[in-house]
Amino acid sequence: MLTIKNLVKKYGKFTAVDNLNLHINKGSIYGFVGPNGAGKTTTMKIIAGLLSATSGSVMINGEEVVKNPRLLREKIGYMPDFFGVYDNLKVTEYMDFYAGTYYIPYKERKDIIDNLLEIVDLTDKKDSYVDSLSRGMKQRLCLARSLVHDPELLILDEPASGLDPRARVEMKEVLKQLREMGKTIIISSHILPELAEMCTEIGIIDRGKLSAEGTVNHIMQQLTKKRIINVKPFENNEKLIKLLSEKPFISEIIENTDDVEFAFDGDDKKLSLLLKNIITEDIPIISFKEKEGNLEEIFMQITGGNENDA
């Protein structure tokens, strides 16, 4: 669906995007994560055709954005990280205006608008003035606006920023629905856990470069040096600790009051063999699980803990 090759964007001596390469498949929800000033918005603006790249190429379905901007505008829905509204305009009129900017015939607009307002759960606000809506509602309206021409690719720049927890949940629900509709979505955030659960893939960008890419689990496995395993024995820990101490791929065994934690160096197959070994040794256990890594820590590790506001 989207291929970015050797993308570079410079502002004078400052390089905002530095030789970025990525490929996003149709139907994916790609999370674009990075600290402020990492180059997310710049990259998204280049994809949307709002900015020209210093060098490199952006291709959508094999077509270069630069060469055919008008045709590609039909395929892209863009929601910026800020949203402005017009005074004295009702929700339906706001939608109708943007339908007009895509030259959608008048007679088709009502159905499209009604349908989109239903998706973003704003049907009961259709006759309200846009400037009277809450921030969360405005965000959802802005999302509905970006869908007015039924684009294949949605570019959403920080759609959850500034929203309260409830509005974030509502936004996530809408995004899930869009995913079910088969839309390809690029969504940016500077908060990794916010994206983790809704994205099929994640790309971490820092100082204009892609530091890590793949599924959340893949990135976690790549970057977590040790896997932490938590085992809860039925009775005492002694036999279990003795067994674990004999294994060379196990270290840092910590004995807690009612469970045992240890660092494991190996893949999933090795882990399943360890579990089999515990059971065949007749050590009764009531739980055996891998402790989830801290996404925030990983993010800080990749980005060097820097928040470069640029």
Binding site: L50, P80, F82
Partner: protein, 285 residues
């Protein structure tokens, strides 16, 4: 055919705003107030009825007021067209739609001029007073109003251009007034410097052709030329100096002055519209 969506939206939003009604009311009040004061003077000054000569002057005064208001109000109404979208953070959204930058500029220009047209229509009954007493034809008024539209579109195109150029609306308004000031007063100042230079030289006489050519872009002189033609006055020549020889070439130029002036205004409008469109295209780069 689909109406430019910007014109549709702006018509809705501006007509819902009380500011718009206030602006139209104020404009109508100024024009009609001036008319009432003038008519009172004309009626009380006549012996046995109305002085038709005075009504012609009323027509000229009202026309001049409308012209002055065009030059003052159009930049104020238009200079925020693009910078306002930028300030409101809606410009990027507009630029990713299927609308070309040219149609965005046209939409913005047309909606601002539309508001001014509404003001002109609102004051038409005031102008109708002149026709009530006779002396001028509807055709005269039509020519005057067409010229006002041409000048307002020209002023609007300059305002839109500066609006694409500057991030703040205040800056676009200031620069529009400066450029319009150069067109209206800069050319006059240049002309008077030229006349003063000629007068100070023994063997050089000022040429009316050169004077008219210098002011060919001046919308104020264009307006005075209309009044001259419609009322038979000599505003232009007497303003620059009645002693300056009116050669046959100057007479020909004076006859076609309005047409050339309108054509130049249209060219200026086209240039600024295209420049605005190009500037908008490269706005984020």
């Amino acid at each position: 055919m689909m109406l430019n969506p910007i014109i549709r939206r702006e018509a809705k939003t501006s007509l819902r705003s009380w500011k718009m009604f206030l602006a139209i009311a104020l404009y109508t009040l100024i024009i009609s107030g001036a008319a009432i004061i003038f008519i009172k003077g004309v009626i009380s000054g006549g012996y046995m009825g109305v002085d038709l000569r005075g009504l012609s002057i009323l027509y000229a005064v009202l026309g001049f007021m409308q012209f002055a208001m065009t030059m003052i109000m159009v930049p104020a109404l238009t200079a925020g067209s693009i910078s306002g979208e930028r300030e409101r953070q809606t410009l990027d959204i507009l630029l990713v739609t299927k609308m070309t930058t040219f149609s965005i500029v046209i939409g913005k220009l047309a909606s601002s001029i539309g508001i001014f047209l509404l003001m002109m229509i609102a004051t038409l009954p005031v102008f109708a007073i002149v026709f009530f007493f006779g002396g001028l034809s509807l055709f005269n008024l039509l020519i005057m109003e067409i010229y006002m539209v041409v000048v307002s579109v020209m002023a609007g195109s300059i305002a839109v251009f500066f609006s694409t150029f500057f991030k703040k609306t205040v800056s676009s308004i200031i620069f529009t007034y400066i450029l319009l000031g150069i067109l209206c007063f800069g050319t006059l100042i240049f002309t008077f410097i030229y006349i003063a230079y000629c007068n100070s030289s023994v063997d050089v006489n000022p040429s009316m052709v050169a004077i008219l050519l210098t002011n060919i872009v001046n919308p104020g002189v264009g307006f005075a030329n209309i009044i001259d033609k419609q009322l038979g006055t000599n505003l232009v020549t007497s303003f620059f100096g009645y002693w300056i020889e009116f050669t046959p070439a100057a007479k020909i130029l004076n006859n076609y002055f309005l047409i050339i002036n309108i054509v130049i205004n249209i060219i200026i409008t086209s240039i600024f519209t295209v420049l605005s469109s190009l500037k908008l295209k490269s706005t984020n780069n």
